[in-house]
């Protein structure tokens, strides 16, 4: 998994390896992560999700080998 901006600061790292046994929803991965990083909770309503460089949402599924990224709303420009 990859994290950016304040989410990276919160996790304390830009990458994290997550073991999946099979297809899992992003929501489940997020909740597992939330149990380790309780502050993640406040991100849920605004969180952006990408799977393999494409936007997805919390109901999407990730399989072993996929690259899942979580980040806050963007502010480029």
């Amino acid at each position: 998994m990859r994290f950016f901006a304040s989410l990276k600061d919160l996790i304390g790292d830009s990458e994290l390896e997550v073991q999946l046994e099979e297809k899992t929803s992003v929501r489940d991965v997020f909740h597992q992560l939330e149990s380790r990083f309780p502050e993640l909770k406040k991100y849920q309503p605004i969180l952006l999700v990408a799977i393999n460089l494409e936007y997805a949402n919390l109901d999407a599924f990730v399989s072993p080998g996929d690259e899942l990224s979580l980040f806050p709303p963007v502010s480029g420009g």
Binding site: S6, S69, S75, G77
Partner: protein, 137 residues
């Protein structure tokens, strides 16, 4: 030209990349670092990108713009890393036969960039720093 760069943005080069003999208009947007924001004095900025995905999203913006308006060219360059007041963080150049198309496509590109391209800005002040996440303006 779609680029994410770490050095100073070279405007003239980007304009040249979109100019053509068929064009009657080139519209550019230059996003520059302001010395204040949210009521505070800004000392400098730092931009971070999710680089592979940001490049992909910038390409999508260009493809959609070229599809929606009769353009001759569109270039988008975003700088990341540390930037001082007055420096450019993003530069967009659009050429078209007719100016209305160039204006509309340029505005579409910067408006879309600000909501879809995974790049984040951290504002640095005298007394601290804050990640800006999401756009209010």
């Amino acid at each position: 030209m779609i680029q994410i760069v770490e050095s100073k943005i070279e405007r003239e080069e980007i304009v040249k990349s979109v100019s053509s003999s068929e064009s009657g208009a080139i519209v550019t947007f230059d996003g520059t670092v302001r010395n204040h924001a949210r009521g505070k004095q800004v000392t400098h900025l730092h931009y971070e990108a999710f680089p592979e995905m940001a490049a992909k999203e910038l390409e999508k913006i260009r493809a959609e713009a070229m599809d929606r308006w009769p353009l001759n060219g569109m270039a988008i360059v975003h700088r990341i890393g540390r930037m001082e007041i007055d420096e450019s963080s993003v530069f967009i150049a659009v050429s078209a036969a007719h100016r209305q198309d160039a204006f509309e496509a340029c505005r579409f590109a910067i408006d879309t960039l600000k909501t879809t391209v995974p790049i984040w800005k951290k504002e640095h002040y005298q007394d601290g720093e804050v990640w800006i996440e999401g756009y209010g303006e």
